[in-house]
């Protein structure tokens, strides 16, 4: 058996240097910028959410404008659990992921039959519908006021959630590493390879005997589970959850982050979310509409000229430096 090139979709397993570097950087941030840990935590939560979206869009080719429903459901499940007295955080994250996955298993068989504009419209409509329903169900969601008074027990019974957010940062980072490793496992598996086949040519997959819909539904459920876990982490690290978690903006932001970072490798999420939030932070002095202008131009530029987002650009630059082939 001759060796496969390292950039083959069959060779996604194994730890890359870049991944280790990213983790070291994330840990270093905790020491270098201790005042910004709560911002850092929210960046990490978004990284996890974008990872989940990459499985869906980048690997399975499902363009959804309703990803926030899973993030939001997970966030509220964590909130409800806490208010009901279930303050243990780790199990709450798992339960939130489970709830989101179940919702995806229910919706998936209907939604994933569609492609193109109908798929886009139905996921968008689902997103809006869930938002409106959450808005109406003030008894469950707290309406515009959200759920406050959320208490979270110390992580593993030891690490207390004080002001400053060190516990939150390390906790979310640990979840991020775990989830990344699991997702990586999934996308490197024959299942992950089949998903990429479905993304490229679903009709052909069917004709080689692949059960396309079940594959997509499973991918949808995994993606939803991760999004739900991100939602739970969001609630736990903020000790608050409001309707914003269901907002269409969340779905669109996630899409933009993924595209900016680079699609279909899981690594784009690691870069895209921090990049987007950093850009947003530094342009926060501006009117948010200038921010839209900036993001619009970036989006067009990345798609038209810089295929592969920040990751793709970096890779090209690296190959250029090394006088690379291809």
């Amino acid at each position: 058996m001759t060796a496969l090139p390292s950039d083959s979709i069959l060779m996604r397993h194994g730890v890359r240097r870049g991944e280790v570097a990213w983790l070291l950087l994330a840990v270093a941030c905790a020491f270098v910028f201790p005042e910004y840990l709560s911002v850092g935590t929210s960046v990490l939560v978004m990284v996890i959410l974008v990872l989940s979206f990459d499985l869906l869009l980048g690997f399975s080719g499902v363009l959804s404008f309703g990803h926030a429903i899973f993030f939001g459901l997970g966030a509220y499940v964590a909130g409800w659990l806490s208010l009901a007295g279930w303050t243990e955080p780790i199990s709450a994250v798992l339960l939130a992921g489970l709830a989101a996955a179940l919702l995806a298993l229910v919706l998936g068989p209907f939604v994933l039959r569609l492609t193109g504009l109908p798929l886009l419209m139905v996921t968008l409509a689902l997103g809006v519908l869930v938002f409106e329903a959450a808005h109406k169900a003030t008894g469950l969601t707290g309406g515009d006021d959200g759920l406050s008074g959320i208490r979270i027990a110390p992580v593993l019974g030891v690490f207390d959630w004080g002001l400053g957010g060190r516990t939150g940062y390390v906790y979310v980072l640990a979840w991020g590493v775990l989830i990344f490793a699991l997702l990586k496992r999934v996308v490197s598996s024959p299942f992950g390879v089949a998903l990429q086949g479905i993304r490229e040519n679903p009709g052909r997959m069917r004709l080689i005997g692949n059960a396309v819909l079940p594959h997509l539904v499973l991918a949808y459920a995994i993606s939803a589970a991760v999004a739900g876990m991100a939602g739970a982490l969001f609630t736990q690290s903020n000790a608050f959850v409001g309707l914003g978690v269901f907002a269409l903006d969340t779905s669109v932001d996630v899409l933009v982050m993924l595209i900016l970072g680079g699609i279909g490798s899981l690594h784009g999420a690691l870069i895209g979310a921090p990049l987007y939030m950093l850009l947003k932070h530094f342009s926060s002095q501006w009117n948010p509409f200038y921010w839209m202008l900036l993001i619009g131009v970036l989006l067009i530029a990345v798609v038209m000229f810089g295929r592969g987002g920040a990751l793709g650009i970096a890779r090209h630059a690296w190959q250029g430096l090394r006088g690379g082939r291809r």
Binding site: L63, L120, M121, V122, L255, L293, G296, L299, I300, V303
Partner: protein
Amino acid sequence: MSALAFILLYGISYGLVLCLIALGLVITMGLMRIVNLAHGAFAAMGGYLAITLMQQQGWPYAPAVAAAVVGVAAIGVLTERLLYVRLYQRPELDQVLVTIGFNFVVIGVFTLLFGPNVLSITLPPALKGNVDLGFREFEVYRLMTAAICVGVIGVLWWIFERTLVGAKLRAAVDNRTMAQAMGINVPLLLSATFALGCALAALGGALGAPMLPMEPMWPLKYLVLVLVVVALSGHGQVRASVGVAMIVGIAETAGRYLFPQFGAFFIYLLLIALMVWRQDGLFVPRRAAGVA
């Protein structure tokens, strides 16, 4: 009885404006085979342009609207030549992303130029006030808008069904390769169609400004409604879109009137149910199951 009259009058006048905007999108999407989420931006440009001409240049209403339509058609051709040409061969995802990006840019520019607030259009005195229809009062403005929409849709209908240009257009919407083989200058046709689509959008945006007031977020806020019409019409189904737009307009109005609490739900539930039931469009005969 009065409820029914209200729902029909307001629903149809609302649906007609939607129809005008959506028709532009149905034609361009049908012909160009791209997912164009930037259509709302052109409609909003129409509204803003008309308002600017009236407020800053002191133009009267009718010429301002007409000039806005022509102006946006020109912007449309420019955009098509510079941006959309590069998208025809791209995957759907790229088209979605670029057109969303275009929306963001347009929203940013609107805010820069016009500020974040609503800009209202001043109607000429003749269009203000109500007219007595015998069974109830009705806004002159809505009546006039409905009449213009019916007129424009009628003319389009005539062009599509009765003229050579229309035949070519239908042929190209149906089967672009075939049209090319028949010697139709497709690039020119694409530009012309895009201009037509943008002109319709701009007309809808300018005429509809009192119903759907101009604000920077307009392109995204009302895009969903327009897309609902397009998605339910089915691919390139120009005729179906008229019917669908009426249904959406009436359903929206009825939903908000009869169930104001859940009015916002109504249209989305309808969309999801119909799309899952018939993803090719409402009035499209179902294709034989499983055709690749």
